[in-house]
Amino acid sequence: MIRVGVVGLGKMGLSHHALLNAHPEVEVVGVCDSAKYVLGVLEKNTGVATYSDYGRLLEEAKPEAVVIATPSRFHVEMVRTALERDIHVFCEKPLTLTAADADLLAGLAAERGLVTQVGYHNRFVAAFQEVKRLLDFGAIGEVTHVMGEAYGPVVLKPKGKTWRSSKSEGGGCLFDYAAHVINLVHWYMGAPVGVGGTVLPRIFSSETDDGALSTLYFEGGRTGQISVDWSDESYRKMTTRVTIWGTAGRIFADRQEVQAYLREDAKIPEGYEEGWNLRYTTELTKPVWFYLRGEEYSAQLEAFVERVGRGEAEGEGGFESAAITDRTIAMMVADAERGPSTLAGGLDDEITTAATPRRRRLWRKAA
């Protein structure tokens, strides 16, 4: 049995707790939250040991691994405390709110050989895994461009404050929503070397962004674009999709299906053929031990638990890859601050003088 503690009992924390509690090889040795009524209800009705103090949970319940699902601003301290005690960590996304913090945690975990993972569950969605498999196989030749999108109905009107509406606490669409797409895109493409044209629009929120638009530059002249909007009511729930163009074809995927168009000269994987190919989640998805909100949530914890069991530090979705996401987010924030790089009024000037690009401070984000 692997002894696990669950920290933070919001939507994700409760869901992780339920999945782990149902896992045959896991013992949830304690849960921790600041809301005492939640702890009271759980303790009385399920018998789980509850803690309102994180330090006491680590001290008394002695978990081998913790799942951290607290508001994002608490991640750094909590994760570091666990790592320093040689406890394996599964942390909800985003790992941290700064690139430096993410590097620090990734470094610390690597130094100590601990198992880490961040809740970027798209890496455990069967359709997105199939895309990865196709890309690694070289099915669409040299990848040239990727489009990563996510839309959903999260913030549909101006509203009151929670930590999610505060920029400094890791709220906003970029940290909370677009992070998933960014993570998926660099899983396929590698770490971006730069970003440009970033816009982080405010639609309904007063302090934070409700969308994220950006161009990502990758090695070898490859590019990517991110288009995310969490104020889109036309989607029933968060919908993430990717389209990838290559010299030998194109792949489209969302949670439900993979559509792959392979050209005649493509290197065609077994089971695929030239032209259009369709694969549905019903055939791609592997069974899980317990289902709550989607196989991917179970599968990501299964992977973590298995790695903890084997003491295997290397694996899918570790801190190092999450740090790439955090760094990309930091680049996007900086880029968005600069505004447009080419202005209508300066166009003639640019063309005739062919000047080296200048940093422009003319255009500031509307207050």
Binding site: L9, G10, K11, L14, S15, H17, A18, L19, N21, A22, A35, Y37, V38, G40, V41, L42, K44, N45, T46, G47, V48, P153, V154, K159, T162, R164, R236, K237, T239, R241, D254, R255, Q256, E257, Y280, T281, T282, E283, T285, P287, V288, W289, F290, Y291, L292, R293, E295
Partner: protein, 305 residues
Amino acid sequence: MSIAPDAVGPAQVSSATGLDRLLFGDNQFFGINHMSEEKARAQAMRFREVEAVIDVLDAAYEEGVRTFMCTTHDRIALVCDHMRANPERYSGFAFYPGMPYAHKYANAVTENGMLGAVKRFLPEEGLFDAAIRGGASLAKKDVEGMTTLLIDAEMKMFQGLRTPVIFLQNLVVDLLLGLGFKDAFRVFADHVRERYGAEPGFITMNLPLLLRVLDEVGIEDPVVCANINKIGFRMCGGLDAYEAALREHRCRAIAMSVYASGAIPPAEAIEWVCEQPNIHSIVFGASSRANIRNTRELVASHWEL
């Protein structure tokens, strides 16, 4: 059994179980399709107006499929209004509501926190009474009062309509099951029986485990609804575990997702499901009279309807 196109066919109630054998689901009306976002969107467009939903329900009714197993989505309230306004026409119609409509709660928990979400969904009517019951239940750290309040809030739209079975949705069932919050099933069952004279039902993606736990808390011969399909799609524990669980536990099982969102050809899907042990009913979704009739005829070739 074949019926004339215009005739109102017989309702398929199994006298042995009191459960209809063929139930009409509502996923198609809300743009839910587990295989394709495009299909889901096309359906959402097609059923934009509640009249389009009612047309399909009418077709189902005329084909003898008279139980509507539905969520407590706001739009269902409009369907309820229509049924209430035409009591004679729909005298044989029954709702099997499934609650809660999960997305509104999930979003509310993210927005308002756990306590805020609960407060948001307390019934407005009798607010004073509700607040006291709710307040006291939190202080006692007892979920019972809160749970029953939320059930009543969800049931408001069905007032005056027949709801012989009331389901707890899979997201909640499976969350409680995972947490080991077993008494909540008992609370739900008791309240649904006492207040609504209805059979409690439980939707799950983890049927073998749920049947064990319902046994443990003494809910006998429960009505349960789960994905049961030939390819084992979303059947946690696997096909063999499902078969064993269905044989070993006395229960009234309703098979859903029998076509696995279209991954299995209809005839093959229905033949397989009808051969499984202890399955009392099938719930299916369709958007046209032709598909409703096809499914009904396929099932009728295996089961006596």
